[in-house]
Amino acid sequence: MLLSAAVFTIGVFGFLSRRNIIIMFMSIELMLNGVNISLISFSHYLQDMRGQILAFFVIAVAAAETVIGLAIVIALFRNKATVHVDKINEMKG
């Protein structure tokens, strides 16, 4: 449980502090894996298989999300020649 909390916190911190979009992606993956660990440990602790099933779902969704996210990043890089998120502020209201 502590491990999962630690991994999740690293992910959150990384996501908030880094400006490189690739690193931010990796942080999201860390957060998801932190959640996965906690899901599996709860599953083990409660003797309930649903936690593990949910973890598999999270892995599958994370894979899909990464594919789409990286595709967006590549498209963005072609247009802006940067992966620095502070320079990408077209959506400013």
Partner: protein
């Protein structure tokens, strides 16, 4: 008698065809559609008349229109002698006038539009006449008003014409407001709008009163007077007569059909149809008789000095409508309807003749600029004289029988104002003969007073216009022969025919008195013509001197007693002022626009504040998400 349905629906079909396809497909042949339809209606109407004469009547609902709680309105038809007479009047006049219009409207840009509206008008008028309930009557009533508005404003590019259309519509609102209230009270009292149950239960409410503005008013009188309100507006009686003379801005066939022969008589028809209501209220009858008699005299005096050929005939129409109400008011409904029927022929004839004159004169309306047209337009002249003899009540012509019957029944009526309205009516008859022949002498006799160019252009109208004139003039002579009184050896068939619907008033008088009344009306008619001949043929200097010596009277008459000015001062201007300063200036500009513009402005300001949150920087969003998640978890833990 199932075919009777075709009578109103043929013109409706013609209207739909013409309004949809007229512009592109029929073009100059648009008249065929309308005329075939209305002639078809005419033939069926004649067949219906024979059915009714043989004793068949019909009263049935065709279709349920609205059902709401206890309120049930249906489309239904009532065919009885009164309806049959109206059907004949409407379809005959409509057919002849539309045939005439082929010549008169030839080459006009809105040719198909004209015929489409004429068909729609005929449909609405027939629905009005054939209705078996008050709501359908109201539908037809408003429908003819709408068509009247369309057709008065037919030359809409002329400001005076579109203004006249609006005036007709708005003045009629005043009357129709009362009419609408009357219909509502009928429903509230009887729980139905069908004529028969209402009329049958009418005696049950005699003596009932309602409390109104601090007075106890008899319910019957209230209903009768409210219905009469509508009739006053539609039939242009005092004080709502102001729209009819202005309505002459429309094309002349429209004046002939709508503003002389049919629509304006709808008020008389309404009073006759509701005779069971009016009969129970003496007050209402006196009001009807007095309104009619005063209008008859009032309009006739105005007609004496007008210069516009169509306006003279329009005032004459108002005056004759006054006669019809006079007749209804003394309980002689059949005589009123008889006058409606003869009047339709001779007045349509006079209008169409005036149209023929205008056609020859290139649209000139001022009779001071005419004169001597007799030799150029023999057919128009002859038919015009026949029409005028008829309206003046010369024995043998249609107008004589109907007018004399009204005057005799007024004289002999037990109604307290009977003798008084007879006197007014007789004076009006003298004036009628005078102004009708003044018109003829100024227009057709003497020397031509127009421009040289107009004189060169003078011609008789084409056959398609003169044949309807000739047919109508036959009507103007012979239409009255169905109602020759017993005194002259006739059978008074017309009154007998309508007796089952309208009853027959008791005449309290001897044969000698009847001869006297008839003699007086013939004498005043002839002396009116004689005086007109003396003043406008022999001594043409007299009218000028009279106008100069009595200039204040002349000016009052010429300006129509300043009624228009009075209304402008008391009603139109205050309304416009209120509209401009209160409705537009305050309600519209401040309240409505304030709300309409204020709400978006408020939202704009608020969203301007909210927009600053959206920075476009991903880590700001991420921080907000994280903080939000933290907040929610904290809340969940704390509130557990």
């Amino acid at each position: 008698m199932e075919y009777y349905l075709l009578i109103p629906f043929l013109p409706l079909a013609a209207f739909i065809l013409n309004i949809l396809l007229g512009k592109e497909v029929f073009r100059e042949k648009a008249h065929w559609v309308s005329i075939l339809a209305v002639v078809g209606s005419f033939i069926i109407a004649v067949a219906t008349l024979f059915d009714v004469i043989s004793g068949k009547t019909l009263n049935e609902d065709l279709y349920t229109w609205i059902v709401s709680g206890t309120f049930k309105a249906s489309v239904g038809f009532l065919i009885d002698p009164l309806t049959a007479v109206m059907l004949i009047v409407v379809t005959t006049c409509s057919s002849l006038i539309q045939i005439y219009s082929i010549g008169y409207m030839h080459g006009d840009k809105g040719y198909y539009r004209f015929f489409a509206y004429m068909s729609l008008f005929t449909f609405c008028m027939l629905m009005l006449a054939m209705s078996n309930n008050f709501l359908q009557l109201y539908f037809g009533w408003e429908g003819v008003g709408l068509c009247s508005y369309f057709l008065i404003g037919y030359y809409f590019h002329k400001k005076s014409a579109s203004d006249a259309g609006k005036k007709a519509f708005i003045v009629n609102r005043f009357g129709d407001f009362g009419f609408g209230l009357g219909v509502i009270i009928v429903f509230l009292t009887f729980g139905t709008l069908h004529y028969l149950p209402v009329f049958n239960n009418m005696t049950g409410i005699v003596g009932k009163t309602v409390h109104l503005l601090g007075f106890d008013v008899s319910l019957v009188t209230l209903i009768a007077l409210l219905l009469f309100c509508g009739a006053v507006g539609k039939s242009a009686q005092i004080p709502l007569h102001v729209w009819l003379p202005d309505a002459m801005e429309g094309p002349t066939p429209v004046s002939a059909l709508i503003h002389a022969a049919t629509m304006v008589t709808a008020g008389v028809f309404l009073v006759a149809r509701c005779s069971p209501i009016f009969n129970l209220s003496e007050v209402a009858l006196i009001v009807v008789a007095l309104t009619g008699a005063i209008t008859a005299l009032f309009a006739a005096t105005i007609a004496l000095v007008q210069k516009d050929i169509k306006r003279i005939i329009a005032y004459s129409t108002i005056s004759q409508l006054g006669y019809m109400f006079l007749g209804c008011g003394v309980g002689a409904y059949a005589a009123g309807i008889f006058h409606l029927y003869t009047h339709a022929f001779f007045k349509a004839l006079l209008f169409l003749c005036a149209g023929s004159v205008m056609h020859a004169m290139g649209g000139e309306l001022n009779i001071q600029k005419m004169g001597g047209l007799k030799k150029y337009m023999p057919v128009t002249y002859l038919t015009f004289v026949l029409g005028s003899l008829s309206i003046s009540g010369i024995p043998g012509f249609a107008g004589f029988f109907s007018k004399d019957e009204i005057l005799w029944l007024a004289y002999s009526s037990p109604n307290p104002v009977g003798k008084f309205v007879w006197l007014l009516g007789t004076i009006a008859a003298f004036l009628t003969a005078f102004y009708s022949f003044r018109l003829i002498f100024l227009t057709f006799h003497g020397k031509f007073r127009g421009t040289h160019e107009q004189e060169h252009h003078l011609h008789e109208s084409p056959k398609v216009m003169t044949i309807p004139l000739i047919l109508l003039s036959i009507g103007a002579i012979a239409a009255g022969w169905v109602g020759i009184p017993h005194l002259l050896g006739g059978g008074a068939h017309f009154a007998e025919f309508l007796k089952s619907v309208l009853g027959h008033p008791e005449a309290h008088g001897t044969h000698n008195e009847e001869w006297m009344v008839m003699g007086i009306s013939v004498i005043v008619g002839l002396s009116g013509i004689g005086l007109a001949a003396y003043m406008y043929l022999a001594r043409t200097d007299i009218p000028v001197r009279l106008a100069k010596n009595f200039s204040s009277i002349y000016r009052t008459l010429f300006n129509k007693y300043y009624v228009d000015e009075l209304y402008s001062f008391t009603i139109v201007r205050p309304t416009l002022w209120t509209a401009k300063n209160i409705l537009i200036g305050f309600t519209d500009a401040k309240i409505i626009e304030g709300i309409v513009n204020g709400v978006p402005r408020l939202i704009g300001k608020f969203s301007g504040m909210l927009r600053k949150v959206q920075t476009g920087l991903v880590h700001h969003y991420a921080t907000i998400i994280a903080a939000g998640a933290f907040f929610i978890i904290a809340l969940a833990i704390l509130l557990r």
